[in-house]
Amino acid sequence: MHPMIERPVRLVAYLGVAAMFGVLLALLVQAIAPGSLRGALALCLPLALVYGFQCLSVWYPVRQLPSSRAGAPQLVLLLTLASFASAAIWTAAGHLWAAALAASAGFTDLPARFAIALPLFFVVGVFLFVLATLVHFLFVVVERSRDAERRGLEREVHAREAELKSLKAQLDPHFLFNSLNSVSALIGSDPPAARRMCYLMAGFFRKSLGLGQKEQIALSEEIYLAETYLAIEEVRFGARLQARFHVAEATLTFAVPPLVLQPLIENAVHHGIAHLVEGGEVTIAAARVGEHLELVIENPCDPDRPASRGAGVGLANVRARIEALFGHRARIDVEALPESYRVRLLLPALPAA
């Protein structure tokens, strides 16, 4: 919807300004080609109002303009041509209107007066068209900046929501119950191992609960969390689960969103290793690739595994979070083969605060 027509107050004000220009124009005509003032007004007022409407149409092309400065010379040329065309159409309309007024309202000298003032009409037409374009351009700029602001706010809200969800996902109750079952088993057969398991669980929950509130953490903290989590799951799965870390020393101080790896590692265990009778190895790699921090989680999987419930929630969550936080500066690629599954995260390589 056109911003002028959207609100009646604006339209009335706009037409008021147009009428004012009409009066001015009539006075100019009176100065160049003297005659009756009523005749000049009868000629100029309606023409100014009509031109006001004509100039409103420039909104639609202006709105389509790209926001960058690229192609500015072409735009100026285009604007000039458009203003000439617009002024020519208007002048032609003025010619017809003057003839009509002469025939019906008795202003018989109007066609002659109009012929004298014709260059004036053309120049004013060009000037008003350019003015209208600038005003509309201003409108578009304001609207775009408001839009950008709103989108920024929306993105922030999404990021917060995703963070909340990730916090919930990370407190997977089944992980807790299964771990407690392992502790219960170890208390009978291997008390020192049971005690070690308690330390690991305390470490994992203390860390993950604390990290949820932060905006970013060092990769080293995320890796510590992954190691602890996998150590707990190794107790549960026994020889079926092995974990291997290839973390480049230099990447440990890079910033990552908290718990960005955790859902992916849970997936690797639950949808990968847990479906394999013989188990397998989860590998976690971190490296610097150009301007990016590359994180790769890979696991083997069973080609005949049933379509798993709940798969993809963790992945979708991570995707939403990094998109909200980094936009196009981050990427997530998934390579799902029959017998292996690989997730690759590319984040901007930034030092942790």
Binding site: H174, L180, S184, A185, R236, V277, D304
Partner: protein, 255 residues
Amino acid sequence: MKPMRVLIVDDEDLARAVLRELLAAHPEVEIVGEAANGFAAVKLAEELAPDLLFLDIQMPKLSGFEVMELLGEKVAVIFVTAYDEFALKAFDVHAVDYLLKPVEPARLGEAIERAAARLAQDQARPSGVAIRPSAVAVAAAAQPPGRPIERVLIREEGRVHVLPLGKIDFIEAKDDYLSFAVAGKRLLKQQTMGELEAQLDGSRFVRVHRSYLLNIERLARLELYAKDSWIAILADGTRIPVSRTGHARLKELLG
């Protein structure tokens, strides 16, 4: 009284260990075996014929519900899992009980009492009249709700075949059995055509004849054989009879 013979099925060593330890306090129970996955569970259950299964649900290859489907009416089941969301399904398939991990000794005791009562009840009944669920109920419980099945489980000569639907060419009814045609071979399963048809995705498998369900992807062409009777010719050249209703169903599906 003879002790109850039980089989423990769980993919985690520690989960089996804790059950073993807790069951040691129950002289009325004798552990006859342990299995770490669904295939092993089915095999052992056939060999050992236990009275009762302690069955985990989330396991590699076959889920606990799928194990139950394969074993049919032979054995009473107590599910043991960290997930509480399968409890309703477990009731649907008449599981004796549903224990949550970590298992509490007192709760385990109750479950064993229930199992003993159920077994006594079964023995008092004339043989052949079981209160066990039908294969359909168990197969349905093994699937996510509202979704057609994605694979068919067949037990034959001690082996378990997991057939993804895409590998099945067609299914033929033979007396009480269904014969699954898979790459030129046949596998038999005791089930009725109606039961299976209800479980399958109707846009992939079409009942082309009273005795035939056809994987629509295998159909190469149709030939008119006689009035109101056609022959479906499959990609590998196999010929299958198509009835008038079957033909109508095919036409509706293929347009």
